[in-house]
Subunit: 435 residues, 2 copies
């Protein structure tokens, strides 16, 4: 039997691109057993030839249009990062009926409706397992393994940098800025860490997860998002005191007539499996209506884990191409015509418990002032804690509330922050202790 | 557009069968969105009509041959348990080109080669996600999401009963027999708990996992197996003292020219994520050569989680039937013609650290006798611990070894157990502290 070959065009040869190249070469026999095809990289589009050390130079080109137009190539693997060329290259490939594999969370989160429609019209596929959770096969789990479930809720630790920083702050009682600097020095955080610590990276990934959980396209600008830069060692200590751990989470929940999608640091109970996900590890916890609680855990970033996901997508596409299978359902597991845009519920509708940190001047009647306003806004206090040592300047007052509505919290804090004993904007951390 | 329907024949209406019925009815709209088909149960084969309360009696039959022969039915769901009729019914369905979904670990573990060949010849499929890990989508993760990886090692906590018993013994310092009785009273353990506590259930599941990890059929009789009935509260206490937790594991590891498949209780480091998998929860930890370490965690048994897996298989088959896709790769993710039978490595070749519990009369020279034999068999001692209190009768002597070979351990213990100060057969627990 003559060997058949699936030819790949690779766009981008950075950390992930070169790991994909290594995987395809070092696991050649395995991929053959898994697809009955030879998987072969035919061309690599990369401007920076210094990355091409040890690789056949003839594979390289700087012309991604030529790759999209090459009739031998049936799968285009886009690993160029969040740039206009990446979107353009995917459009080109799909328009010509070439299937696409991408790790590009930003472009999928923003352009999924257009790209899926392009794939459907041209009878090809676009897969993006690597866009969320690196080597953790989370998208496939939602699309296939848990397909029979309504996903009641999903909590994701899906940004390695913020989890590394919070884990380190928790383990060492260290300050945010100090840990961030250390993480940058070690290469765990980018020189410009904005997207990681502000939550933007989590927003993109949550938009994709929401699509696979509920079959809804979410506008990333409508996902509520708060970062971790305001978290103090004191917050972590107070969390610990009351049995919580602080984690940066992407959260989506399904209700009868609406769904939530929000990104923020949250306190979770220390006995929640997510509380033990440390450092650069990622995890996705889900509650399906029949599967019950489950968690997928693994390495969320890095060349090799991301390549694992990219090549698993290649394997799936190669199997389908080989058997000329018709694509009946797109990349979400939901029938294409049932996918539609939808807005997540307004954060002001959130009902949960809150941790509130006030920064106040140490004067009489401060607590009376705070508690009166909270009470008037239907916010009931579970614990109130005032740090013992009196200082010249501001002291923190900590409140753990019973379940309250975000709208009431906001209106109470607006009122309190206008009071003259408040020295800086009050900070809140939402508490997640229900499935 | 007229609604198309995929008709299901359900064999068995016990805990899982009735949960499948409930799921298909309560998530009807979701399944429609996931398949573009109506999924409908056309017939149910069940002898015990007392189970049929609240279900249309006309659906019921006692004739599984009629279900296999019904031309409307395209998927037969076998949930009869490990009985000859179940195997016969699957053979019948596959022979007629009907795809099969089953939760039957024993039959898949023992008859996979025959059943896969039957499916291939008749251009249909057999899926069995529910056979391992209940609601955890572990088989799909191995078949699809991690398809690009060589699975270097896999550790599974895949029997809820034994994990419940060991968790309870650990949390409460309780005795095996007492916890077993309690588990039986609560319904967590069967009246005849043999298969769960002896390891047979884990052997079946490990045979299936091994097939999906390495593409090899393993004879279940060639999988080394030890149960948990010999574990004492003392063993758990000693494990804890040295930073370990005892878990019942199914283990498979890949080496250059061989692979391991073994089932036994083992000590694992307390910082291993598996150590925090308690009670009836299951978890599968894997190390892929590119994905790195990961873990899948969730509910391993019960009607609803198992139904979640069964119906996810139904969704996949319904998608394929609808689009008349050709089956290019069977249920393992490996190309059919590359699957072959293989023997796991002999347990005598195992190199690991061991916990050894001797039961000795408290006499002089006992330790000298034991240590001399261990030394002569190349077994080096890491810790030796003799319980302080002297008693009239036997006292335990505990040894933690450095890495040793199982063959040497066996030959040393044979020699030691023949000595006159030994009061009962020496017990060992293998230590797993490497990925």
């Amino acid at each position: 039997m003559a060997k058949k070959t699936t030819f790949i065009g690779l766009l981008g040869f950075g950390t992930v691109g070169s790991a994909v190249y290594r995987l395809i070469n070092s696991n050649r026999d395995l991929l053959q057993r898994k697809t009955d095809h030879e998987i072969q990289i035919k061309s690599i589009c990369e401007k920076n030839m210094s990355k091409a050390v040890g690789v056949d130079q003839k594979l390289f080109t700087t012309d991604y249009e030529a790759i999209a137009a090459d009739p031998d190539i049936s799968i285009v693997v886009e690993l160029m990062g969040d740039c206009p060329e990446a979107l353009e290259a995917m459009r080109m490939a799909l328009s010509r009926g070439n299937s696409v594999v991408t790790a590009n969370k930003a472009l999928i989160a923003r352009h999924a409706p257009e790209l899926f429609e392009l794939a459907r019209k041209n009878n090809c596929e676009i897969l993006f397992e690597a866009s969320v959770g690196g080597g953790i096969p989370v998208l496939r789990a939602l699309r296939e393994g848990l397909a029979s479930n309504r996903i009641r809720s999903l909590y994701g630790i899906i940004n390695g940098t913020s989890n590394y920083i919070l884990s380190k702050m928790t383990a060492e009682g260290a300050d945010f800025q100090a840990v961030l600097k250390e993480a940058q020095a070690l290469g765990y955080a980018e020189a410009d860490p904005g997207s990681d610590i502000m939550g933007t990276d989590v927003v993109y990934k949550l938009a994709i997860l929401t699509m696979l959980c509920h079959g809804r396209f979410v506008n990333v600008d409508e996902i509520f998002c708060r970062g971790i830069a305001h978290i103090l060692p004191l917050d972590i200590k107070m969390a610990e005191k009351f049995g919580y751990v602080i984690k940066m989470l992407g959260i989506t929940k399904m209700h009868d007539h609406s769904f939530e999608a929000r990104v923020h640091p949250a306190m979770i109970p220390v006995n929640n499996p997510l509380a033990h996900v440390h450092g650069a590890f990622n995890a996705i916890q889900y509650h399906g209506d029949f599967s019950g609680e489950g968690m997928l855990y693994g390495l969320g970033a890095g060349g090799n884990p991301t390549a694992s996901a990219v090549v698993s997508d290649i394997i799936e596409l190669s199997r389908n191409i080989q058997s000329q299978n018709r694509i009946n359902l797109g990349s979400t597991g939901f029938s294409h015509h049932t996918l539609e845009a939808a807005r997540p519920r307004d954060i002001l509708e959130l009902h949960t418990c809150y941790y509130i940190r006030f920064s106040v001047l140490d004067r009489p009647n401060v607590l009376a002032g705070i508690t009166a306003v909270l009470g008037r806004n239907n916010i009931s206090i579970q614990h109130l804690y005032q740090q013992g040592q009196r200082q010249e300047d501001a002291v923190p007052v900590i409140v753990f509330t019973h379940k309250a509505c975000e709208r009431d919290i906001r209106s109470a804090l607006k009122e309190i922050d206008a009071m003259d004993f408040i020295t800086q904007t009050t900070k809140i951390i939402r508490i997640e202790d229900e499935p």
